[in-house]
């Protein structure tokens, strides 16, 4: 799988006042992916991430719980910064409800940064938690977990940290964790996002 850098100047999608249609969110994601982001070789990305995980496993002497936590905190640090990049690029207005948030995450954010579109499913009754099902995961291409790791290690745990950090910076306190992973032998890769609460105190003034 190879990605290329391109510089086309196709007309950009108009940003409507309210983020009502998921089609608009999808359009924004695709436009920004196609025209506005510099891309690198996917193999290099996979290898870099793989070397991070394997080095962590070595450093923590195969204590996979610690590796998971470290990946999560690395992801958290990335997420709190990545959100500004996302907002500067897309200028998406604040989501009215958690359903819109899930769409923005899956159709726009993942598309822009990883060029994948995970599906949103498994909504809870109170509509405050959902699952993201990944059909493809560029972090874990060509990866096979060893026997001891496949019981405890969540290979792509950095994604959980990224999501948690990014959502926290927009005043959504969420819990993000993996439920299943094809690398572990499960049928699909599923990530669960649960909204604990909206941090109203930290919301910047001047919003409705």
């Amino acid at each position: 799988m190879n990605t290329t850098t391109g510089t086309s100047k196709t007309a950009s999608a108009a940003n409507t006042t309210s983020l009502a249609s998921s089609k608009t969110i999808k359009q924004i994601g695709e436009t920004v992916w196609k025209n506005r982001t510099v891309k690198i070789n996917a193999e290099l990305f996979t290898l870099t991430y793989g070397s991070i995980v394997s080095q962590l496993c070595q450093d923590y002497q195969r204590d996979f719980k610690k590796v998971n936590d470290q990946l999560f905190s690395m992801g958290y640090n990335i997420g709190i910064r990545l959100i500004e990049d996302f907002l500067a690029r897309t200028a998406i207005p604040r989501c009215d409800n958690f359903v819109t948030t899930s769409e923005v995450i899956s159709k726009c954010a993942f598309k822009i940064f990883l060029n994948i579109t995970p599906h949103v499913t498994n909504w809870s009754n109170t509509k405050n938690s959902f699952s993201l099902i990944f059909d493809e995961n560029p972090l874990s291409d060509f990866v096979e977990l060893p026997m001891d790791a496949s019981k405890e290690l969540w290979y792509s745990n950095i994604l959980c940290g990224v999501l948690k950090g990014a959502l926290e910076m927009v005043q959504l306190d969420c819990e993000v964790y993996f439920v299943s992973d094809v690398l572990r032998g499960n049928t699909q890769t599923e990530l669960r996002v649960k909204l604990n609460k909206v941090l109203k105190d930290e919301m910047p003034a001047g919003e409705d």
Binding site: T5, K9, D85, A88, P93, P204, A205, G206
Partner: protein, 190 residues
């Protein structure tokens, strides 16, 4: 548009960045700037509290159209040379963005116009505020849109050169030469 200075205020109201492109007429030492940042931060919040009741009751849908900021091409990037698009940090293409966008700031303070200068405030969803002081004081909507476009571009530069610097701690003063030089390029090319 002559830009006098750019300030960045973090979400707790502390001054994170301040740069004067034109020497201000008054003498302000660094303490004054910190006080200025804190004042702006709190005034921003108070302004949203002072929204007249009549506005709160009135039809909300008519308000939404006023928060759209049109995209104004050619600010800070040259429109002449279309063959070689600039490399704007991690943003590709002829410009940082090319669509109109909604202003996140719905009821907080947006601009202040005085006889000698105009001040524009831009707040992102994460609470970080960008302040632009310009020595013009045109009051029409176009100059306001130009200022908002400039502020969003500064936000793009910020998200690139400040956020992606692994040695920068969040909410701390910005000491990045890359950010300074890119900002300078943007402002000087206006």
């Amino acid at each position: 548009m002559a830009i006098q200075s750019v300030m960045i205020i973090n979400k707790s109201g502390g001054l994170v960045y301040n740069h004067n492109f034109i020497e201000p007429k008054g003498t302000m030492n660094s303490n004054d700037y910190l006080i200025l940042a804190g004042t702006l931060h709190s005034v921003f919040a108070i302004a949203s509290q002072l929204t007249p009741k009549a506005v709160q009751i009135s039809n909300k849908s008519s308000q939404k159209t006023e928060t759209q900021v049109p995209y104004i091409p050619g600010i800070g990037v040259s429109t002449e040379n279309k063959m070689a698009p600039l490399q704007l940090g991690s943003f590709m293409g002829p410009d940082y963005f090319q669509e109109p966008f909604t202003n996140w700031n719905k009821s907080g303070l947006r601009h202040m116009i005085t006889d000698e200068f105009s001040m524009f405030l831009f707040q992102s969803l994460t609470g970080i505020k960008f302040v632009l002081i310009s020595t013009n004081n045109f009051r029409n909507n176009t100059s306001v849109s130009i200022a908002e476009n400039i502020l969003r571009k500064i936000y793009c530069i910020y998200s690139d050169y400040v956020m992606k610097d692994p040695f920068y701690s969040l909410d701390m003063p910005i000491r990045s030469e890359l950010f300074d030089s890119n900002l300078k390029n943007l402002i000087e090319s206006l």
